[in-house]
Subunit: 267 residues, 2 copies
C-alpha cells in the first residue's frame, strides 16, 4: 500500500503524476491519493473578491485562516474543481478513481480549532471563527471497502469535527494519518521541488536521506510549506509507515522515481 | 428503498429536508439522495463573470449550455458547495452521509452530447463544445456497497462519458435512473412548488394523482423545469419504480408528506 500526496502548489505537472498513478495501478499496486488545494483556493478566492489570508503560528507553521466564507471557497476549490477534475483525469487513463473528502462518511475526523494563535507584525494575537483542525481519526474501513473493490480513493483535504463541522486540514499531515491507519509501507509526497533542500531554493542542496531519528531536527531548516511536510513525515513514521519520500512533481514518473529512492528518503 | 431528489432552485428549505431525511434514516429506511445545483451554479457563474446560459431545445426542454468553463463553475457549485455542505448538514443530524458525483467510481455513465440543438429567437441552431449528456448506466453495486454499510449516498448531478469526460446531467432524470437501478419503491422529487400544477403558478390547481399511463401527456402542460421532472417520473415508472411523488420542499416534513400521499402522486 502506497499513499500519495499531490501538492496543491503551482509547478506540479498533473499529467505526469496521473500517468504514473495509472502505471502503478496497472502494476497491481494498491494506492490512496490525497491532494492539496492551495493554488486553486487562492485563485478562486481572488476571483470572488475573498483573497486568502495566510497566517503564521508562533512555531513558524503557516496556514490558511478559514472563516465560514473562506471555507466555502476552499470547499469549492478542493471538493469541486481539484478533486473532480483529478478523478476525471485518472478515469481517462483507466483508473477507477473515486473522489471523497474527509467529511464524506466521516472519513477524517478531528477537533475543530475555532481560535488560532498567530504572529502578525511581530505580535501574537488570536483569530476566532476558524474552521480548521487536525485529523485525529481515520475511517480506514471505508477506504478498505473501496480498495477491495478496485477503486482508487482520491481524498480532498477536509475533515469533519466531532460536532459535524467541515474543517480545513493540512493535506500532508492528513495523508500521514491515512498512511498510518492503512499500514502503508510508503507515503510519497509530490511537490514542486526535488525534495528537502538544506538551503532553499538551491536545488543542489537536496538532502537524499534522513534518518527517522533526525527528522524532527529537519523541521528547523525546512522553509514555509515544507515545514508541515516534514512534520507529516515525522508523524507518518511514528505511526509505523516505513518510508516517507519527497519527490519532484515537475518531472516525468515522479512516483516511480520516489520508489527508486530519488528525492528525499526518510526512513 | 427511497430515492429522494432535492431540487436546486431557491425556495426549498434544506433544514426541513435534512431533518426529514434524518427522521427517515432513524426509522430504518434505506435512502439515496440526489441534489440539484441550479441556483448555486447560477450565483457562482455571476460572481465569476461567467453567467449561465440557459437554452431551450426544439422539444421545449430547458438546459444549461455547458462549455468547459461552465463545467468548471458547475463542478465547483455541485460537487463543492452544494454536495459538501449537504453532507455536512446531514452529518450534524447524525446521518452518515457520503457525497459522490456520477464521475466517482463511474457511478453514472452516459454519452456526452458535444453538440446540442437549441431554439433562439424562433430559429434553430447548433451549439458545440457542450459537456452534457444523459445517464444511461448506473453503478448500482457501488451504491449497494455503501448502503449495506450504513452510509447514505448523496449524489451530485454529474456523470462520466464513456471517454472519461465529466458531463452535466439532469438531476431529476439521473435520480430516476438510480431509482430504477436500485429497484426503489419510491422516487420523491422535492421542489419549490406543491407538485404538478394544471395552471402554473396557481397552486390551487395542484394535480393530486396521475395515472402511470397518462404521465407523458402531463409533460405538455408542465412549465419550464417541471417538464424534465415529469419526464424523469415517466422514465422511473418505466424502469419499475412503483411511485413517483412531487412534494413541496418549502414546508416541514416534505418527505413524510410525500409518503402520506400529499403532493402529486404518479403511479
Amino acid at each position: 500500500m502506497i499513499v500519495i500526496k499531490i501538492g496543491g502548489s503551482s509547478g506540479i505537472n498533473l499529467s505526469y503524476v496521473c500517468a504514473d498513478v495509472a502505471a502503478l495501478t496497472k502494476e497491481g499496486k494498491q494506492l490512496v491519493v490525497m491532494h492539496g488545494t492551495g493554488k486553486e483556493a487562492d485563485a478562486l478566492g481572488e476571483k470572488l473578491g475573498r483573497p486568502a489570508r495566510h497566517v503564521t503560528s508562533p512555531q513558524g507553521f503557516t496556514s490558511r485562516y478559514t472563516d465560514r466564507d473562506t471555507l466555502e471557497v476552499f470547499v469549492m476549490a478542493a471538493c469541486g474543481k481539484v478533486n473532480t477534475f483529478l478523478v476525471e483525469g485518472l478515469q481517462k487513463l483507466g483508473v477507477n478513481a473515486i473522489g471523497l473528502s474527509g467529511v464524506d462518511g466521516r472519513l477524517l475526523e478531528g477537533t475543530r480549532k475555532d481560535a488560532i494563535r498567530i504572529v502578525e507584525n511581530g505580535k501574537q494575537r488570536i483569530l476566532r471563527d476558524d474552521y480548521t483542525g487536525k485529523v485525529e481519526k481515520v475511517n480506514a474501513d471505508l477506504l478498505r471497502v473501496l480498495l477491495e473493490r478496485g477503486y482508487i480513493p482520491v481524498v480532498a483535504p477536509l475533515a469533519i469535527s466531532y460536532q459535524g463541522d467541515a474543517i480545513n486540514v493540512d493535506g500532508d499531515r492528513a495523508a500521514a494519518m491515512i498512511a498510518g491507519a492503512l499500514g502503508a509501507e510508503q507515503l510519497i509526497i509530490v511537490s514542486n521541488v526535488p525534495g528537502l533542500l538544506r538551503a532553499y531554493p538551491d536545488e543542489s542542496t537536496l538532502i537524499a536521506h534522513i534518518d527517522k531519528n533526525r527528522v524532527e531536527q529537519s523541521i528547523d531548516f525546512a522553509e514555509g510549506r515544507m515545514k508541515k511536510k516534514v512534520l507529516g513525515a515525522s508523524e507518518a513514521l511514528g505511526l509505523g509507515v516505513k518510508q516517507v519520500i519527497f519527490t519532484d512533481g515537475r518531472v516525468e514518473l515522479p512516483i516511480h522515481r520516489a520508489i527508486e529512492g530519488k528525492g528525499t528518503v526518510i526512513e
